[in-house]
Symmetry: D2
Subunit: 344 residues, 4 copies
């Protein structure tokens, strides 16, 4: 008897010096477990990039920039492998630090943190940072950058981050910064919890110290992000970690549905994280769960790869760089007053 | 030779019908692994409650309300086992749903989510919810609740949530709601990513539909939360999960330090979560790492219990209810203009 | 429209001093996530104990004895809440250590392990042990205990552990030892990887030093364990952690099926572990996966609670001690030659 | 002030089509989190291979062969990047299945396992297998293979697996099998819980059905494995997952210490697994913990990479294949009577 569930044999992966990274991810698709999922992540992303009219969201949580992922994200922006970014504030602050020419340091997770405190060395797992450098950055943000912002203006995080990208382009040293690339390539960057970072509190300090009345209207972020999904023909999502970025992108579908009265669920969905579903949190929840809410389409191409993004992301994006030979035009956004014009 | 590291023998836990929950947690302190950490969580929290002048922060992430934790949090507020709450928007939205008399349902994580979608049943791991009920709630928020909010006013999330607590007290059915308890007991509730929830997008919709100009100033949250830590004699923190609430409370120390020029790190720290440090994210990072930043004091009493909060929290709080026989007065907050008066 | 999936509302858990542990686990059944699973674990186990003719397997991995779980397991044996035990060798070695009057110590996971090494202190996460005590135990096992074993006899691990239980009963100080309780209550104890522990290598040393020719026939374990499932009317399984104990109990169903030509899958199944399925290992695999193999019945009552057993086990067993008021007779095993007589 | 902890800046990883896998792992060493650990794993393994007199242990747990890792392990054996293997029985059984020309199939973790049961399709996370093929293999093992084994002989698992490797070499179809490569390259393979697999129960069935008296002496495994560490100049260990293989290799150091009265701890240690230390189990425990026991040397080169091995292993070994250009001779083992002659 032939069993129809058994028509697709696995193929043990081989070893060969000089193998291309895209060959490796192709081979992984014939294996099992998270190796296969890594291969499928490349495949689903490649498929997404072939769509003519699609807007691709990237949600970025975790301390990806201190962990050396700045250029990977910047590459994705420059090559329009994504169209819009939602990030934690921390990643954008650390991007600002590196854009201004400061750096993070190779450290260790086995160390005496009380000694670190005495030396004003801040630890992010096995990465160290210089608190004095942070203070220099904060000082420049409070003073020089905030001088560019208008009082009493209802800024969305996107508007503030656009101005920050421009300022970093003019004042920074590293051009392959996330914010600089986004500014130059007209890729909107949102940070719905921007106040939950040193960028946020530098602006707050600017208000306190220099009597600014700068305003960051969190509701405007909801409006703008949902407009992107409303006006897109199709959407795809890539989540690096979970947190606020994932939820924010998820909810644009719910809002767009509600506004337009029709299904605006995401058509492609990739998630790289190691959070498990059993704890019931948003960060670990499956795309199947998201389907019950109409956040991800019932017939979406979807893949969840359980891995640390510092391993998965460089492999996936290097593989994509080999597979995608023609630069994608991407979605064009024109923001005017309270409205958005979105074209492909 | 006597080994001085070996002076404290473990004591195998016994079984006895009718054992009190506080006895159980006491016994757990003599065992190992996360059982011991659960016992220590009760002990550190008890110690914190004995301090005369301390402000206790609770950070609440994860979908704790759908998972049945509403009354536990409300108990903590009413009995002043906490003084200030920072929560994800989702928990407060689901609290609003239950306060208004709607409910969540026992579901299953093994189900066909496409069928759920067809029936407008939303899934949160193994809890189901009725999307039609959610829409009823959203409608009331957009219309009735938002009518209470003033246009062009720079609201912090605390101010909006205070008004919501009052409205729920007047219009709701369940008095043991988090927001109602907080309103009645003058416990400030912050939600730095409130826009990342149905409360946030209901307010945004109110602006869209009814031409409101309601404003949620994310920077004001940074200002207000940091003022609490600045003005407190001492602070203690309890984190249920990680996410924005944890980071927001952590950063109040950093800001207070910077503002006052002296150490304002938290003196007690408890964390209940199952996120592991190896992934480098904020949610899983250790209190040792927090010490390097000066967020947690070098000599803080601190404990991290790796467990699902739906197990740990009911045990810890039931145990506390047996151990703490005298109601704590707690911190009193008087907010006036841009300032805060904080007394014990 | 009534939605039939939504007929079972959750009930938020409340706080009340003096609440019984069995009340708490009952209340947890109306909540969500792992709290609910903890409640369900008690319920499924209670149901199992009501069956007239069932054999209940317990699989015990992890360092449960050093972490203070000895008396809990011993209680389960004495009260016949289990009928047969499969354990890692380590748990039984540490049980031997405690039975002989030695102890484990409260330690810390944040310590300098090189210093520990110098002091001959062995660490098991946050539990310390005295290596000198271990050597005393090893010496007695090599010499006194091994003198009781016959050369060239094909021992199963069960036979050796029965003799060890008897020896500990006669020579030990703590009667609430796992091996002593099992010996006295005629509960078979298997350790398929017994050689992977200090018991195993003490016997091996006995062969080396004293020219014994003691033999531990691993195949006999397979034979004996599968006979238990073959001869049982029904079987239930409880897994604390995964590893060899879980797999060994799982495979008894597969072997019994094969031998008898009919379905001998387990009818009840409880698993307490925090391993996640995504890594593809046996320890984290779901009972659904086990159903594909016929290891767990298609209509089994089954529950997986993701939690550290040092939290879950004391709660579950204390709750059971309140719920089960009549002592269960349990399965009776009579081993003769190569055969087993099993009665209820 | 220069901070001496901050002398080693991170270097954000870049994207470049055609990048070699060894370049990628080199670049990862300048990043953070598990990406850096992956890079370090390659580096530590490379260093190990440069030692003139070292014996390298590989511990292999998890269902690595069904997940497509057979050729990777076989490559390691053939190129003598390892000298001795300790594996779960399951991996060797699945290797036997593939060596005989059968296969595993690409499946899905989202499926109806009851339907799978009806079709005799066995699931291993997202890999399917044909139970009928398994039965064919079992039948051949029981009959043909077991005919090669002698009655009443005290076999270690190594001896049985050597005979199995030879039989597969003569009767199998796939030469890049783990057991065949090990047989041909004189690499000893141990499986201390061999009875916990279909190989084990096929031999047991052979005893039952054909009145064989085949014997698998678990104590002999302890003796033989510890002899390897005793006689080695230096040892290095690589653990894929935890379980019995990890513990068995760890304990060879403890036994060798005890036997020889001097430090025989492992000098290099690499671990690829996603188990976290907080649960207190052996699989997740750190190499620091192992140092307290003297299992890993106080000054060992050690690295733990938290990742699914189906991702990490193909990357590490492909990278090694590019970095190591001269074939290593490896350790030579001559087993005679009860003794071992080990040369480099």
């Amino acid at each position: 008897m032939e069993k129809k569930l058994l028509n697709n044999p696995t193929e043990p992966i081989g070893i060969k010096p000089g193998k291309k990274i895209s060959e490796l991810t192709d081979e992984m698709m014939k294996t099992g477990f998270q190796g296969r999922k890594l291969g499928e992540s490349v495949e689903v992303w490649s498929e997404m990039l072939k769509e003519e009219k699609i807007t691709i969201w990237l949600g970025l949580a975790g301390a990806m920039v201190p962990a050396g992922m700045r250029r990977v994200i910047s590459y994705l922006i420059e090559n329009r492998m994504i169209d819009a970014l939602v990030s934690t504030g921390a990643n954008l602050y650390h991007d600002t630090v590196e854009a201004l020419g400061y750096t993070h340091y190779i450290g260790s997770a086995q160390c005496n943190d009380v000694v670190l405190r005495e030396q004003k060395v801040d630890r992010i797992h096995d990465v160290f940072a210089d608190e004095d450098q942070f203070h220099s950055v904060d000082y420049r943000l409070e003073k020089d950058f905030c001088d560019l912002l208008k009082d009493d203006c209802r800024y969305s995080s996107r508007e503030i981050l656009y101005i920050l990208g421009k300022w970093l382009d003019e004042n920074g040293k590293n051009k392959d910064s996330i914010l600089v690339s986004a500014y130059k390539n007209n890729v909107p960057v949102f940070s719905p919890a921007l106040s939950d970072s040193s960028i946020g509190f530098s602006i707050m300090f600017s208000n306190r110290k220099y009597n600014h009345r700068i305003l960051l209207d969190a509701l405007k972020d909801v409006d703008e992000t949902s407009k992107i999904t409303e006006k897109s023909e199709k959407t795809g999502v890539i989540y690096i970690g979970g947190g606020t970025p994932k939820n924010f992108i998820q909810q644009t579908s719910v809002i767009a549905d509600y506004t337009l009265g029709r299904d605006k669920s995401h058509s492609y969905a990739i998630q790289i994280s190691a959070d498990m579903p059993a704890w019931g949190g948003l960060s670990g929840c499956t795309f199947e769960e998201a389907q019950s809410w109409g956040k991800v389409s019932a017939n979406a191409r979807k893949v969840h790869c359980y891995a640390d993004a510092t391993i998965a992301l460089p492999i996936i994006v290097n593989s994509l760089s080999e597979k995608v030979t023609q630069k994608r035009k991407g979605t064009t956004f024109v923001w005017k007053d309270d409205d958005l014009e979105l074209t492909y």
